[in-house]
């Protein structure tokens, strides 16, 4: 048996045209490549820090 209230909560208001700009700017565009590059950068930074500590 479907629960009307629960089902209703699944519906979200449609995006209006005036909101299009905000949506585009706020969209998280990071992909797996970006994540990997960040990981690599963080890894190299940690390696550099470890070398300086020694």
């Amino acid at each position: 048996m479907i629960n009307f209230e629960d089902e209703l909560k699944k519906f979200k208001p449609s995006l209006e045209i005036e909101d299009a700009e905000d949506i585009i700017y706020k969209q998280d565009l990071d992909d797996m490549s970006d994540v990997i590059v960040k990981l690599l950068k963080e890894a190299s930074q940690e390696a550099d820090t470890a070398k300086r500590g020694k």
Partner: protein
């Protein structure tokens, strides 16, 4: 494929030829992204839009620069009515790859059709209003809004789903099923639509294909409703010939009863009202007639009085006329006397003055003095006047101008009644003029006044002649 680190074009090797970066994992990620894109493309081909969206999102998470995946995602959003989301994907795609991008065409299509944009905006606003109505428990208003939304854009899957949910809430299972099926036609992989369809189907009569639970109630109103595919067919129940004939007899009976009611209830009242109106009119006319009769009697009395007054006035006028004629006669006599004293030989002047004096007309009104003066004047000028008139009259008689002859001879006899010839020719003039009675009277006077004369004998002969011709 370009190096993620320096942007140089990569070769088949797992190392960048420009910067020496290791790109093996990067290439695997790109490949995985393409696999998701292909999967999304396949799902979109069979209208599994939900599945396609999931695959394409995965593809873009792996590689945001997968322009094909992004453009396809925009197309899928556009097809399911999510225009703003579609535009957002196409704009990002355009920014990531400004040249040689299909997103240009899609964006231009939307931009060049302002009515389409306005329509889209209206659709979105109405859907959001409907959703608000649902949250405020105004389900009827929400249903109306959603129907308007679907009139504007039949491809908005969310609207079909929300309408189906409302129908389930209101117990309109058949309608919920139809809306769920429409949503599934647009998006075959939509789980919500499937659940709603299952819920609606569970409320249908088991074992009766096409018949709905709600059909049971509607059977009582003389029609059968069932679904054939997506169409709801309402079929009237066939009636037997007896049932049809009974309805015809019912109509005939109704007409007969209507006519009878008109004859026995409406017509008598109508006739009575017409009669009463006519009686009122007759009474009014008779009253007017009576008043006019009274007026006529009154007028007749007035006419009688006026006639009496006219007669009295006429008698007075006659009296005045007598006075006038008497005074005129006096004037004539005075004038003649004056002419005689001026010139005794002016017989024509005297005759002219006495021309209008008629002694027979004034005989009763004149005084003795008048008659004495008249007789004296006649004694002096009578014979001369008589001779003058006699000559004129005799000449006219000879010329057969009897009218002139009668006038002159009458005057001649008036002034001298001793001349038998005057009277005899006067009688002849009347006789010749056709006035036989007057002629007989004159002849009779000739015989009586002048007996033994030749004229008397001739008059007797004329009398005998007239009498013989009269027989």
């Amino acid at each position: 494929m370009k190096c993620y680190y320096c942007g140089a074009e990569l070769t088949k090797d797992n190392t960048c030829p420009s910067c020496g970066a290791k790109v093996g994992t990067y290439k695997k990620i790109k490949s995985l992204s393409n696999r998701f894109y292909n999967e999304g493309l396949e799902k979109a081909g069979v209208r599994d839009m939900t599945g396609a969206v999931e695959s394409l999102r995965q593809s873009l998470k792996l590689d945001k620069n997968n322009i094909n995946a992004r453009n396809l995602l925009g197309l899928i959003y556009y097809d399911t009515g999510e225009i703003v989301a579609a535009l957002a994907e196409w704009v990002i795609s355009k920014n990531l790859q400004p040249e040689d991008n299909l997103a240009d065409i899609y964006i231009d299509d939307v931009r060049n059709s302002p009515s389409l944009l306005d329509n889209i905006n209206q659709t979105i606003k109405k859907f959001n209003i409907a959703l608000n109505y649902c949250r405020q428990d105004s389900y009827d208003l929400a249903e109306i809004q959603l129907k308007k939304v679907l009139q504007l854009n039949k491809r908005l899957v969310k609207a079909h789903l929300l309408l189906a949910l409302l129908c389930l809430k209101n117990g309109k299972w058949d309608r919920a099923k139809i809306e769920s099926q429409k949503a599934l036609e647009l998006d075959t992989g939509n789980l919500m639509a499937r659940r709603y369809l299952k819920e609606a189907d569970s409320m249908l009569l088991p074992g009766e294909s096409g018949k709905l639970v709600s059909d049971v109630a509607s059977d009582n109103d003389g029609s059968i409703r069932y679904n054939s595919g997506n169409e709801m067919i309402i079929q009237p129940v066939k009636k037997s010939a007896i049932a049809r004939s009974s309805s015809i007899w019912g109509i005939v009976l109704g007409i007969v009863l209507g006519v009878a009611a008109a004859c026995f209830l409406i017509l008598p009242q109508r006739i009575q009202s017409i009669n009463s109106n006519n009686q009122a009119k007759i009474a009014q006319i008779s009253e007017e007639s009576d008043s006019k009769s009274a007026q006529i009697v009154d007028y007749e009395q007035q006419i009688g009085n006026l006639k009496k007054q006219v007669e009295e006035l006429q008698s007075q006028v006659t009296g005045y006329e007598g006075v006038d004629s008497t005074s005129a006669a006096m004037n004539s006599l005075m004038k003649a006397t004056a002419v005689y004293f001026n010139d005794a030989s002016d017989v024509e002047g005297i005759a002219q003055a006495l021309e209008h004096l008629d002694l027979y007309a004034i005989d009763e009104n004149v005084s003795d003095e008048f008659m004495e003066l008249y007789n004296s004047l006649m004694a002096l000028v009578g014979p001369q006047l008589a001779t003058s008139y006699y000559n004129n009259g005799y000449d006219a008689y000879k010329l057969e101008d009897y009218e002139t002859a009668i006038a002159n001879l009458s005057k001649a006899y008036q002034y001298d009644n001793t001349n038998v010839n005057t009277l005899y020719y006067l009688g002849n003039s009347y006789n010749a003029n056709g006035d036989k009675d007057k002629a007989k009277e004159i002849y009779d006077r000739v015989v009586t006044d002048f007996p033994g004369t030749q004229s008397a004998a001739a008059a007797e002969a004329k009398l005998a002649e007239i009498n013989n011709s009269g027989n």
